[in-house]
């Protein structure tokens, strides 16, 4: 039987990673709403990607914290970790495009870095699920 203490320590990394990705999502939303309030196309793209990161990260954190077994925690990590990773990939490609920075390249760079951080932590969640929680890369 997997000791509860072991399980608790195994959950720490994915929960912490998903909280960091969640914060990145919030940062992207705030930047989009404040910097591009006059340009609806950029504003919506920032909000969409930011919301995707927030929702998927929150689902990861909730799924993992509620899991009663290693396998269930791993399944939550794999399912939503991939989504965090993939939303980050989409975001980073959008934020480096001139059309979506509209004369505010610094904002674009910051958002791209935030997306990049989400990619790294999404990947960390997936690797942790595979190596420490013992689930396949697709569940």
């Amino acid at each position: 039987m997997v000791a509860q203490e072991d399980l608790k320590s195994l959950k720490k990394l994915p929960i912490a990673s998903s909280i960091i990705a969640l914060v990145m999502g919030i940062i992207i939303i705030i930047m989009g709403v404040t910097a591009f309030s006059g340009f609806i196309y950029s504003e919506i793209m920032y909000v969409i990607v930011g919301l995707m990161l927030v929702i998927f990260s929150a689902l990861t954190a909730i799924g993992v914290s509620r899991a009663s077994t290693k396998v269930k925690a791993g399944e939550a990590c794999i399912t939503f970790g991939w989504w965090v990773f993939s939303a980050g990939v989409g975001g980073i490609m959008v934020y480096v495009a001139p059309f979506f920075t509209q004369g505010a390249p610094t904002i674009g760079v910051i958002a791209a870095i935030a997306s990049g951080i989400s990619i790294i932590f999404g990947l960390l969640i997936i690797i942790h699920a595979k190596t420490k929680l013992g689930v396949p890369l697709t569940v």
Binding site: T69, T79, M93, V139
Partner: protein, 495 residues
């Protein structure tokens, strides 16, 4: 030789161990059925035998695989075509109605796969008989899915060439070849390969398509232009609905290929319904709006204008890949029912042949796949009746026979399967003839989509034939065979 993914089996055993130790992960019924799993998967990927409990996936996994198949450029072009033929209001109504029809058809068929845990062609053995599963499997998926694989591979070459016309490896012919071989790799891995790519691609594809859509609307003149848009080739609402249904009705009928991996019978239906009603509706309407603004489905052009060059490559490569590997996978599944070769080998053969065909088409100046596409579209008229008979047999005829829903098409070693179910064959032919317009007035076909007519007529004819004949004591089956532990007839064992 028994083929089971070792890693997955280890994963299951650990799960089972945890169950024994008190941490319940699977129901006792599931564990019991696992202990009794008597099948040997000699072809790979459970082509001929039911999917075992340890290979079954979560609802989210099924949803993502379906979504990966949907997230492709074909659906965007389909939406774009609607944008040339109707106002924004008409396109929206047609998309929603068409998607409801697709949800119902696909949901009903997916449930069959989730209950029986067998592929579409495995299920057909119970409905059309052993020989029927060969013929209708090849008609439904063997030829069309391979054809679409070749066509979309060629299309991939065209798109890559548009993005980088100067690069020699982006020449249409060569891009078709390497693109086709790339797509073959995930289909070669099997279901796990399809799932892996979908996990990776779907959210990013959604983000990038949305970005391309907004850029296109902006460069095309903004949202204001959409409200005053007059379609250059206006058609009626029913024609638009027909197009929406026709775009994906074949996909709706082969939903068991994915749904068979679901842990619960209803997972496949829910996953299918959500992705159709939410994502397909979104993609179709967004693409039609882009067409209204820019005069064509110029996603790549809009993305390049916005500086989304990398995103354009991502959408082109992964958008085609997640769909086309599934085309190849489904095609191989149907051929493998009667060709005694491992599924992976069959995927390789079909993938290489499809890639070469696409390469040749790209290489030959003036070559066009148009006649081949017309043939595939013609097949599309005749395929929905296959699903109509499947739905009629599972939900009506089996219920009339008193078989509990969870027991329908259940497989066991030594089970007798008919060689031919002649009312099913007849109903399918009559349904197809109605959809073709041979047995149905043209006025009806103008109002109701041909694919829906074919499906409904096959459904009705099968019930009208099968139930009275059974009541009269006349067998609807011709001949029988016994199934062994390999899922093959007792005499036909090829390892």
């Amino acid at each position: 030789m028994e083929h089971v993914n070792t890693k997955t089996r280890t994963f299951f055993k650990e799960t089972y161990k945890e169950f024994e130790e008190g941490e319940l992960l699977m129901s006792s019924e599931e564990v019991k059925s696992t202990e009794a799993y008597p099948w040997k998967d000699i072809r790979g990927d459970y082509v001929l035998v039911p999917v075992p409990p340890w290979e079954r996936r979560t609802l989210m996994n099924i949803f993502l695989v379906y979504t990966g198949v949907l997230s492709c450029l074909a659906v965007l072009w389909g939406g774009g075509a609607l944008g040339m033929q109707g106002s924004l209001y008409d396109v929206t109504v047609a998309t929603v109605v068409g998607d409801i029809i697709l949800t119902v058809i696909g949901g009903l068929v997916a449930y069959i796969g989730g209950t029986a845990h067998q592929s579409t062609y495995g299920i057909m053995r119970h409905i059309y008989g052993w020989y029927g599963s060969w013929i209708f499997g090849v008609l439904l998926s063997g030829i069309p899915a391979w054809g679409w694989f070749a066509y979309e591979t060629w299309l991939f070459g065209v798109m890559i060439h548009d993005l980088a016309p100067q690069n020699p490896i982006c020449d249409i012919a060569w891009a078709s070849l390497w693109g086709g071989l790339l797509m073959t790799t995930t289909a070669y891995v099997g279901y796990a390969g399809l799932a892996f790519l979908s996990y990776f691609t779907v959210p990013a594809f959604f983000v990038l398509v949305t970005a391309g859509f907004f850029a296109g609307i902006h460069f095309g003149g903004g949202f204001e232009k959409l409200w005053s848009f007059v379609p250059p080739q206006p058609v009626g609402l029913s024609v638009l609905i027909t197009q929406v249904v026709g775009l994906y009705v074949c996909g709706a009928i082969i939903t068991p290929d994915i749904a068979r991996f679901a842990r619960k019978a209803w997972h496949g239906s829910v996953a299918w319904g959500v992705q159709i009603m939410v994502l397909m509706t979104y993609y179709m309407i967004a693409a039609s709006m882009l067409t209204m603004a820019m005069g064509g489905t110029y996603f790549s052009k809009a993305m390049l204008m916005a500086g989304l060059g990398l995103g354009a490559y991502f959408v082109a490569i992964f958008g085609q890949w997640t769909t086309n590997d599934n085309n190849l996978y489904s095609s191989a599944l149907s051929w493998d029912v009667f060709i005694p070769v491992k599924k992976r080998i069959l995927v390789l053969i079909l993938g290489i042949l499809g890639s070469i065909y696409a390469w040749y088409t790209g290489l030959t100046a003036g070559a066009s796949m148009q006649p081949f596409i017309q043939f595939l579209v013609w097949l599309g008229t005749w395929l929905p009746p296959i699903g109509g008979v499947m739905i009629a047999d599972f939900y009506v005829f089996q219920a009339y026979k008193g078989v509990p829903r969870s027991e329908r098409y259940k497989m066991w070693v030594g089970k007798e399967i008919p060689l031919v179910n002649w009312p099913a064959w007849l109903a399918m032919v009559i349904g197809g003839a109605c959809a073709q317009g041979w047995l149905m007035p043209a006025s009806v076909l103008q109002v109701i989509p041909a694919s829906v007519i074919g499906l409904v007529m096959a459904f009705i004819v099968y019930i009208i034939l099968a139930i009275p004949l059974d009541k009269a004591g006349v067998s609807i089956y011709i001949g029988k065979i016994k199934i062994n532990e390999y899922g093959l007839p007792v005499k036909e064992v090829s390892k």
